[in-house]
Symmetry: C2
């Protein structure tokens, strides 16, 4: 179960499992799109969970440090989104410019490209972003 793995990570870094951390994790666990801090805040409020926006930010940052959550900066959105990493393969996203729906792309064509870039630029490549925007079937 996810919570067990998390308690371990928290304990090892001198942290504690709390009501709010549980709530954020549970929300991310049952949600299938990456959520922004304000969306997490709003959804928890709807679910009658008392939590402050500041605490949401602090929580996602802790979870990111523990390697449990991924932070995404989608194309010209002006805010970050967070999704559970738990056992998921590296992947990318496409977002509809009209309705904002975000769909996972379960592919990444960049392994060969990364090697090519390292050869050409002499950089050591550490990470990459690849995000698409477009129009979803409903909004075309």
């Amino acid at each position: 179960m996810l919570e067990t793995a998390i308690r371990k990570g928290l304990r090892e870094t001198g942290r504690r499992m709390t009501r709010t951390r549980k709530a954020v994790l549970a929300l991310l666990e049952r949600t299938h799109e990456p959520l922004s801090a304000s969306e997490i805040f709003a959804q928890l409020q709807q679910a009658q969970v008392a939590i402050d926006l500041v605490t949401v930010y602090r929580t996602v940052n802790v979870l990111k440090e523990l390697g449990l959550v991924l932070q995404l900066d989608l194309f010209q959105e002006g805010q970050s989104r967070y999704e559970l990493k738990e056992g998921r393969k590296h992947h990318h996203h496409i977002r509809c410019q009209i309705c904002g729906r975000i769909v996972d792309l379960l592919l990444c064509p960049l392994k060969k490209l990364t090697k090519l870039i390292e050869e050409r630029t002499q950089f050591v490549v550490d990470d990459h972003t690849l995000e698409f925007t477009g129009f979803c079937p409903k909004c075309q």
Copy 2:
């Protein structure tokens, strides 16, 4: 010459060529890295050009509307960068996590991938970002 093309675009949209627009364009023309608004502001101040940060933002937005400038949101930088589009091929970037240097990658492997994504998701793909981070030769 670039300025001629720009005057045309400005005129056609009921706009005017001004001292500040010239200065921003000239700076982008002689700079080989994408610049943020505050960098444009700082460099113009150094060059004895009187300009407000607000005007920088308004100027890059106008140039973006005219299709003369590209706005980039590099990986977790928290600010936008702008570069002249003028006759340049579509390309991507890699940024050094230590010194911040940004290098152009004169390639884009995404034409085939775009088609595949359109088939799989039924989205119409409109645009994409692809940015790398890593460590440049000097900072390794």
